[in-house]
Symmetry: C2
Subunit: 241 residues, 2 copies
């Protein structure tokens, strides 16, 4: 069957090949005031002028997808260190009312501790809680929900969640972050036991005092990069375990 | 800062927007003769004429990415039921020597039991063991390795691996499939205990006899679709558990 072989080839990308506009769109997460939030910008041109959207931009001719996503992020945040990961490509033919645009979505995590990020907050971009998202332009609500699902899944077996945290923190604050991301309470004893077992926390000689409570030890991360925990066990206890 | 707002907008996709050729490429896995294999086709035109590649094709104007991937697969396999999932988008500017082509990669799993698939085997496409892959065209080796990593990861917490299995099987065969995918032996007692705990297997009244061994009970899946197992525990025991 010749058709099988022919159909499986990439045709030459000459004038007969359809070309598509390709965008990158980025979901940037922070934890702020006990809530998981994403960065939204207000669109200033059609379509969806005046409406909220996640930051995005078109991929340039000589730019890799990662480079394009980093560029979009840096235009919004001006910060150097940011965790960025490709999420999913959204390619429904009618997702953009102007014309077909394929979106390669990314998500990024950053600690709100970074001062450049706080400054940015005053330049038209806002942080919106994932629980009270407005109607976003295009399929951006769907993209944010997809990113949230990925984040919740991945903090089970990687140190990804730590990217959202400040440099030093108490175990109570650490558990709080996990609960904020997951949207549900975790068992305190189990959480502390698993977390200390992993060997990824380093205790400091500093303590945090608040009110009349016993001072709580401050910890930092032994591993600044995101690592997989599969060989060491998982952070968030499963219901069955 | 006006620049922030402007740069965060999707520009109108008029003639000034760069357009890109977008392909879908699909890694199709089967288990055959005790080995995990992927489908390869031989390219019959430049670039990489005569060399091996995974099946692929350009995305058409009114086609979603999923539809394009399904079309490519059906041209190769002619089978109705197949598990298909988007993997990752590869967009390095020079990954195709002709011109820039962004590839949205997919991976798919199918049981070799399906007769349409066996027939297809004779039409120029071949099954190659993931352990002895030839040099593939473009960045297709990288795509296959990425798919393999996703598959190995995902069988830990979903029923994805079952898509590779025949309708009925013994527990020994089931464990064998997991070992083939993971490329390492698993503890028999642990594996059986976890697998039966999950409640996703249905024992049949059939038995399989081979040689002088005790007949082994045949099982089937209670859940034909791929489900997440996070709430019920995980299949493959971690080293720490």
């Amino acid at each position: 069957m010749d058709t099988t072989q022919n159909s499986s080839q990439l045709p030459s990308t000459d004038t007969s090949t359809t070309r598509h506009a390709v965008a990158v769109d980025v979901v940037l997460f922070v934890i702020d005031q006990g809530t998981l939030k994403v960065l939204l910008i207000r669109r200033n041109q059609a379509p969806y002028a005046g409406e909220w959207a996640i930051p995005g931009g078109m991929v340039k001719p000589q730019e890799s997808l990662d480079t394009a996503a980093l560029r979009v992020l840096q235009e919004e945040t001006h910060i150097g260190h940011i965790y960025l990961e490709q999420l999913y490509s959204f390619g429904e033919p009618n997702r953009d009312p102007r014309d077909r645009v394929i979106s390669v979505a990314y998500y990024a995590l950053v600690s709100l501790e970074q001062p450049e990020l706080r400054a940015q907050n005053q330049n038209g971009a806002v942080w919106s809680s994932v629980n009270t998202l407005p109607n976003l332009a295009f399929d951006h609500n769907r993209i944010v929900h997809y990113a949230l699902e990925r984040l919740r899944n991945k903090i089970n077996y990687t140190t990804l969640g730590f990217q959202l945290l400040p440099k030093v923190f108490t175990l109570t604050e650490l558990q709080g972050s996990y609960e904020i991301i997951l949207g549900r309470p975790l068992d305190k004893r189990n959480f502390r036991r698993k977390m200390l077992q992993l060997g990824i926390l380093k205790s400091t000689r500093q303590f945090k005092t608040s009110g009349r409570q016993r001072p709580a030890r401050l910890y930092t991360f032994a591993q600044p990069t995101v690592i997989r925990l599969q060989e060491k066990g998982i952070i968030v206890p499963f219901a069955a375990s």
